[in-house]
């Protein structure tokens, strides 16, 4: 006889850390996209030089990235403490994504100055490194949630969708860049993809952040329903009847 598994909310006592994590991630994505958009727009109009643009972005990424990375780390820990079982494991894996914003402004220095690597398309590889450091843990995080039978159904579906969101926003720009600079330089079709990838790249933190916010919302609603059902002594989905 198939054993019924009781569904549990993602976090036990409070969903605040998950809300905060989602909000901080989305906010960092939004602010990062805005800083890049405003600065690049100024540079494209010749209001600031390419050097000034790079200095500004490097300052933002090194300072903002460091602060954001630390906040991510603390919030992931807080979430992990409030979770249990597979969900806790998911947050522990997700914690590794905290290093991505810290690495964003430092990947080139790390690869080419510290490690002394000499590779073609260096900035693409450096960008890919920090992307993978964010994407891989987040993808595993969402895979664990999507495959965990204790997680409420709405959260599982959202986690499942988020896997593809994370994959698309991370790897589409890398794929297009490799096409444009290494495999098919000059191809007009790739040129149009480059323009799309310029927009997609801005969603890299924003969309996973929004996913976390929705996860927190669904999980909290589930918790409320569960509590309410318990109060009325009504059997819940997947619970003992």
């Amino acid at each position: 006889m198939k054993k019924k598994i009781e569904k549990q909310p993602l976090l036990r006592k409070t969903h605040l850390p998950l809300y905060l994590l989602g909000a901080v991630m989305a906010l960092y994505g939004l602010v990062s996209a805005l800083v890049w958009s405003i600065s690049s727009s100024q540079a494209m109009r010749g209001l600031i030089t390419a050097g000034q643009l790079r200095t500004r972005l490097a300052n933002f990424e090194s300072t903002g990235g460091l602060i954001t990375g630390i906040v991510f780390f603390i919030l992931f820990i807080w979430c992990a403490v409030n979770a249990k079982g597979g969900v806790r494991a998911a947050f522990i894996v997700g914690m590794l994504a905290s290093f991505a914003p810290i690495l964003a402004g430092r990947a080139e220095t790390l690869l080419f100055d510290t490690l002394g690597l000499r590779l073609p398309a260096g900035s693409v590889i450096a960008g890919a490194l920090s992307t993978i450091v964010f994407t891989l843990p987040m993808m595993i995080f969402f895979i664990i949630l999507a495959s965990s039978r204790r997680v409420p159904r709405g959260c599982r579906w959202l986690a499942f969708a988020s896997i593809f969101i994370v994959l698309a926003t991370a790897f589409f720009p890398i794929y297009v860049t490799v096409l444009a600079f290494l495999l098919k330089p000059g191809d007009p079709a790739v040129g149009r993809m480059l323009e799309v990838s310029s927009q997609v790249i801005k969603l890299r933190y924003l969309l996973p952040g929004l996913s976390l916010l929705f996860l927190a919302y669904i999980s909290m609603r589930f918790l409320k329903e569960q509590l309410s059902a318990e109060a009325q002594n009504i059997p819940q989905e997947g619970g003992p009847k």
């Binding site: 890049w36 958009s37 690049s40 727009s41 540079a43 494209m44 109009r45 010749g46 030089t49 390419a50 050097g51 643009l53 790079r54 200095t55 972005l57 080139e108 080419f112 100055d113 000499r118 590779l119 073609p120 398309a121 260096g122 900035s123 693409v124 450096a126 960008g127 720009p173 860049t177 444009a180 600079f181 000059g186 191809d187 007009p188 040129g191 149009r192 480059l194 323009e195 990838s197 310029s198 790249i201």
Partner: protein
Amino acid sequence: MKPSNGSMINQRLAALSLAVVLLLAACGGNNPPATSETTAPAADEFSGLNLVVPARYDPPIEMSSVITVDATVKFLGENDIHNNVWTRAYEQLLGIQVSYDWVVDVSMYDQKLGLSVNSGDIPDMFRVTPSQLLLYQEAGLLANLTAVYEAEASAITRDVLTQDPVALKAATIDGKLWGIPLTDASVANASVLWIRQDWMDELGIAAPTSMDDVLEISRRFTEEDPDGDGVDDTIGLCASKSLYGAIANVQGFFNGYHAYPGIWFERDGQVVYGSVQPEMRTALLALQEMYASGQLDPEFGVKDVNAINETIAQGKCGMEFGVWWNPYHPLNLSQQNDPTAFWSAFAIPSVDSTPAKSQYTTAIGSFLVIRNGYEHPEALIRMVNFWTDNLVGSQDEAVRSTFLGNIEAPDVVLYKYTPVLLWEPNAAIKAGNALREALARHDPSGLDLEAQWRYRIIQAYYEQGILEAWVEVATNGPNGSSAILMQVLEDRGLMNRFYGPPTPTMAGKMPTLQSMEEETIIKVIMGESIDLFDQFASDWYKLGGTDIVDEVNQWAANNP
């Protein structure tokens, strides 16, 4: 460099117009029809293209010519130099059956042409150098093109040929036009100053506004380890022993001191030779000091361009005077060892309050001419019109793919199959301006496909931080080097006043004088007394310079 493009004409109207023209042509026998243009006839290979086609000869006429090929000329399928898209277009669209009497490697062309002409076997249409133009015109071998040019040249042809102010003048002898100059980007050989922007940012250095700033940047690049490797191995200014080339030249440095080596310019009503003017001394002394303090490569005197490229690739070079396209080569090499390398272009700064001018020489090196006695000299103008109207004045990608080449077969460069090649002199400036305008309004829709690609590469640099895209940013982005060419064209350039064939004394003595000049400059920079330069200037006049100056001034009087 490819030509830029213009507008298209409706195809249905074209077919109708063509029918009328063909009818008139048939009634008029073999007489050349009026110069009114029409559009695409229904020739199979070209029927789907929006082409601007000059009036067609009916029945077709024959034109013998000669052409060069080299290892880079490749053909697809059944095509060869005698039967290709260009020969078929000339025949089917213009009614000109072009046949090549002989085909040789570029290096053999002048010799083979000389033999042909001497044996009386002169092609109907062929390419000549300025010296050959003068020689054959004086021998009465060339057709006067003045009238046919006036009657037949299209508006775009006239525009292309007047963008270079000396193009038509160079083909004119005794007030008559004897050839069609094969134009190219003359202003493109004007020097700009390239500086490692990432090193400037690292050291907190502002953009140079004077030659003093250039010297200071050079000093700091040499002494303050801008590459941060802890080794004293950087060079402030890279210079090649070639002195006046497109890469790591010293002429740009001299220009900052209002000295113009290697070219002729007007001073006090006389045309003078720049290399022997007093301004050279100041610049030479500055370079000598830089060399002595390690700001120039210690091996400068033996380093050719290939060696300079290696220095740039190694990330040891901080500045160079070069041309606008240097980021495509060799400055792109600097990213091999440093992915963050970025070079910025600057107009040549001045040593004083008078703005410096970049010297440049016309790119007109050859002309298309018609044999005297050929029945249809206007055919050449129609072939030129066909090129300019469709490939300079058109944005049509299908036309460009058909006649220039396309991305599917990048090795097959179709325009090499025709001797009629006129590049738009200001193409780089126009293309750069169009890109910068598109960038400023964030809208690439008005650009052709190639420019749209460049736009997106620049956008990738700014919006995605892809540093490999810096090459396009440095050339066509805001403040890019092509913008400096515009300044050169307006009031920051000095064009070589002498654009004629070598004068008699020049032909005999200039090579020796030039060797002496280069040797002297290198020796003085590497530490010999400045007196050596004074001695050179004095000797230059004694060893034939005086006669050359007289001849050039005489030429200038005849070619105002």
